[in-house]
Symmetry: C2
Subunit: 209 residues, 2 copies
DNA sequence: AATACAATAACGCATACGGGGTATTTTTAT
DNA sequence: ATAAAAATACCCCGTATGCGTTATTGTATT
């Protein structure tokens, strides 16, 4: 099946790790690593000249971060998959990376055999993630069970997200417009916001609906 | 490490599959399957009496769907992990499942050995997903590269999401309030919405920011 | 029995907002 | 070179919205 050699590029500032990774990849049948970079600037300049199948990207890099690097490179290289390979496991790093265009996220303690499997996985349409990372991602979908809002308020908030106004909501849930306004005021108090737009943003971003 | 036996429950309407799964699990050292159900109603009534570590949940079930089942069960059983095990791979099924509380999503053609690995993975804090499912999930984070909005409009929309008003936005980006209003009108036209709340909801749900 | 919250409902007031235009300048694309 | 799109800016108008305040009823919780 995988008769085509997978071309991998590496962006990693630690020269020991960089060389080790390139040796692992280049020494494995079916893989080749012709491009390695110690910083994002070089990668951004040279990777588009000969797009690899997969880029292994560190986050902590001298000037531009790996996340910024992906943001810039992914725009030009739609067909290239970017895999984060980093020691950082905080939510910010993980979700910023995915939003920037990463298709996988591996932590650096990954065994060489698994790294190669992950690279194969991503070219075959998967999204390899270390266990704890994958868990973070699925958790981000779970409905917030600690919502401060009552059922009725949640119902109203849902309708605000659809752009409904007082009157429309009132008619839909069979109460007066004044009642809807009262609910909305309570929603604002509980969410510490002062406008529909803010309430909607907070509701969506905190999985309150 | 895993000296404790992993208790698994199965909710699956096809009796052949149900029996096969329970045999695989019960026949593997370190796993036991004492509870199997052919529908959600029975599962909802009985699973809370003796919470397992992991529930393998089908989606297409006679009355209540597996997604609804998780929604109800997960509220009571915070410590139990729910793994979807289904033939369905459409976006709706995947994301509704995750939102309802699933911690993993496996397609039914998974080899028995991998199923056991996935169950171990989820109890060890991971989130096992079949390759195509994981890809769907990471893709859902990627910024929409086909945004109809200009840079300036995107900037304004971001600020609308923070609850800023005309004046505040105008001051922040050093233009007149009238200009901000003009931008917002264009945003409404392009997104086919007629209020801030709607624009914010659409922007967030479509990864325009 | 008492407290608290949720859901219901109303009124006044100032203004931010959405819809309708029009116009100039700059940037980008063809 | 020229057209299209983006960014800037202003006007009017009516109303939906946010804020303050008050009140009744029912349902939990203690």
């Amino acid at each position: 099946m995988s008769e085509k050699i997978i071309k991998v590029a590496i962006v990693e500032d630690d020269s020991d790790i960089r060389k080790l990774l390139s040796l692992i990849i280049d020494g494995s049948p079916g893989f080749e690593c012709r491009q390695t970079y110690s910083n994002c600037e070089d990668a951004i300049e040279n990777i588009p000249k000969d797009p690899p199948d997969v880029v292994l990207m560190d986050i902590d890099l001298p000037k531009l971060s790996g996340i910024e690097g992906i943001r810039i490179l992914k725009e030009q290289l739609a067909k290239t998959d970017f895999l984060m390979l980093t020691i950082k496991e905080d939510d910010e790093s993980v979700f910023q990376s995915l939003c920037a265009g990463a298709t996988g996220y591996l932590v650096k303690d990954i065994p060489p055999a698994n790294l190669l499997l992950s690279i194969k996985d991503v070219v075959n349409g998967g999204s390899p993630m270390s266990a704890a990372i994958a868990r973070k991602v699925t958790m981000s979908f779970h409905k917030n069970t600690n919502s401060p809002l009552s059922e009725r308020e949640t119902e109203v908030l849902k309708r605000l997200c659809d752009g409904e106004n007082y009157k429309t909501i009132a008619d839909a849930i069979f109460v007066s417009g004044n009642t809807v306004r009262a609910h909305i005021k309570n929603i604002y108090k509980k969410l510490h916001v002062k406008s529909r737009a803010e309430a909607v943003a907070k509701a969506i971003n905190n999985n309150l609906l």
